[in-house]
C-alpha cells in the first residue's frame, strides 16, 4: 500500500468535470484506490462516492492506492490532482 497527502487545488474542488476526470483515470488501474477525507473513506472509482463526499477546493486529502499497479496509480493520480484536474 502506498499513500500521499495532497491538497485539492482546482477551483471547483472534486465536483462535476474534475470529479469525472479523476474517476475515469482511477478506473484504469487494477488497484483499490481510495481517498481519506475528514473521517470518510471514499472509493475513487465511484463518481457517486466522490461527488457525495463534497470535497471543496483547498481540502486536504490522503490518496491511498493498494494493488499490483499501486506505484503507477499513485503517481498518475497525484499528478492529475496537482495539475488541477483540467481546470
Amino acid at each position: 500500500m502506498v499513500q500521499k497527502d495532497l491538497v485539492v487545488i482546482n477551483e471547483s474542488g472534486l465536483h462535476a468535470r474534475p470529479a469525472g476526470l479523476l474517476v475515469k483515470a482511477a478506473s484504469k488501474f487494477k488497484s483499490n484506490i481510495t481517498i481519506l477525507y475528514q473521517d470518510k473513506n471514499i472509493n475513487v472509482k465511484s463518481l457517486l462516492n466522490v461527488l457525495s463526499a463534497g470535497i471543496a477546493s483547498g481540502s486536504k486529502i490522503t490518496l491511498v492506492c493498494e494493488g499490483e499497479d499501486e506505484q503507477e496509480a499513485l503517481k498518475t493520480l497525484t499528478e492529475l490532482i496537482e495539475s488541477g484536474l483540467g481546470e
Binding site: 491538497v7 487545488i9 477551483e11 465536483h15 462535476a16 468535470r17 469525472g20 474517476v23 475515469k24 478506473s27 472509493n43 472509482k45 465511484s46 463518481l47 457517486l48 462516492n49 461527488l51 457525495s52 463534497g54 477546493s57 483547498g58 495539475s83 488541477g84 481546470e87
Partner: protein, 537 residues
Amino acid sequence: MKSGIAASKGYAIGKVIIKSHQEIKVTDELITDIKGEKEKFLSAVEETKRQLEKLKEQTARSMGEEEAEIFEAHMMMLEDCELVDAIISEIEVNHFNVIKAVSQATDRFIAQFEAIEDEYLRERAADLKDVRNRLMANLTGNSVDFKIDEENIVVVAHDLTPSDTAQLDKNKVIAFLTDVGGRTSHSAIMARTLEIPAVVGMGDITSSVKNGDKVIVDGFTGSVIINPGDDDLEIYKKKINEYQEELKDLKKLVSCETRTKQGKRIYVAGNIGKPEDIYQVIENGGDGVGLFRTEFLYMDRNSAPTEEEQFESYKFVLEKMGDKKVVIRTLDIGGDKTLPYMNLPDEMNPFLGYRAIRLCLDQKDLFKTQLRALLRASIYGNLSVMFPMISGVQEFLATKEIVEECKRELDEHGVVYSNDIEWGIMIEVPSAALCAEELAQYVDFFSIGTNDLIQYTLAVDRMSEKVSYIYNPMHPAVLKLIKMTIDGAHKHGKWVGMCGEMAGDESAIPTLVEYGLDEFSMSASSILSAKKLIMVL
C-alpha cells in the same frame, strides 16, 4: 394568476401540455431466480446506456458539446461500481426484486446528496433520479421519453430532468413551467441556453392547469396567467412584439463594427472575471476584453495559483478571442478585496494602503509568477497587460523593470513570448490623471477605472450609506480628470479605454464619446445596448 421564480426571460402565449410524473410501483415481492433477476438488471443497464448515448449525441448537435456532457455524467452514474454493487447485493442477499433493489440502492445515494448543504451537489440528486427513472422505465418496459407534435406548447412538469430538456424541440416548445427548482437548477440553465422563457419553483402549477389550457408566461416577472382574458392577451401580444423587435435589432449588432455617426470606430469590449465568462462576451459581440480581473483566479482557495494554472487561463481567453484585443489586469488585491492566505495587514485606510501594484512591487515573487504566465500566454492571441493603481511615472517604470527581468529569465530558458504586447495602466488615482500627458510618453494605453477614480476624487466611500449621495460619475471634477486623461494620451498617439461601471452607463456614454474615448469595456449583457447607442451619436 400564479407566480414563481423567473428563470429565463422572454414572453410566451401557448397551450399547456403536462408532463406527468410517472410513478413506478415498487413492490415488496421477493424473488427466487437470482440469476434471472440480475440479468434483467444488466440488460436494462445496457438499454439505458444506449439511450443516454443517443441523447448525448442529439444534445451535442442541438445545444453544444458542453450541454451534452451532462449525459456523460449520467452514464458514469449508471455504471458506478458502488451503485451497481449495491443493487446486485440487494438482489443476491435480500432477494429483492430488481425494481425494489434499484429503488433502495439509488435512494440511499440520493438521500446522501440531498443532505449536503451545497446547492450544486443537491442538483446532482436530480441527475441520479433522472438516471434511476430511466433505468426503472426500461425495467418495466415503459418509456420516459415524451414526444410533442403540436406547436406553441408550454410544457408544465413537476420538474424537468436533463433528459427531458434535451428533448424539448424549440420549434414546438415555447416555454416551460415547473413546480420545483431555482434559478441555478438544471432546467433553468437549459431554458436560458435555449433562450425560451421559463418560470420554476411555482409550487403547484401541475395541479393548477390542465392539458390544453391557454397560458401567458412572463419570464421577466415570473408570473403566469391561466386562461387569460382578452385584455391580458392584448397587453402581452404587444409586449411580445416589442421584445422581439428589440432582440432582433440588438442581435443584428453582434457582428457589426461600432462607429459613431461621424465614422469614428469605437471598440465596445467586455469585462470578465473567470475565463469562462468569455463566452458571453463573444455571444454579445464584444470587440475584445477590456478588463480581465485576474484576482478571481486568486480567490476562494488556500494558496496563490501556480504559473501553470494562470498560463492556462490566460491562454484559454486569448485563444477564444483570436486577434481581438484582450486586456488583462495584473493582481488587484487589498482594499476591500483580501486573500486569506496572504496575511494582509489591517490598516486604518485600506483603500489608501497596501494594495494593487503597491503590493505586487513589494511581493515580487508573487508578481513575477503572474508576469511569466502572461508573457508565455502572449503568443496565443492579442495581449495587452495593464497595472492597477499606478500613481505616477516612477511606479510604472519600476513595474516595467520587473517585466524586463521576467523577459530576461524566459530568454535564458529559451521560452518564447510575443514582442507585440501592449503595456498600459489603469487611471484610477487622481494623480495619474493629472500626470496623464507625461505618463502617456511611457505607456501604450490607458484604461480609466471610474469606480476608484470617483471615490478618490470626491473623497467618498459609496458603500457608506450616509455619504454615498456624493458619489457622482458626472461631477465636473471627475469629468475634467477623464478629459485630461484622454487628451494626454491622444497627444502622444496612445489609446484610452474605460472599464469602470461608468463605461456601460447609457447616460454617460454620449459625453465620453464626445471626449474622444476609444474603448468602452463593460459587463457582457450591456454590450449590445451600448453599441446601439453609440451608433446614433
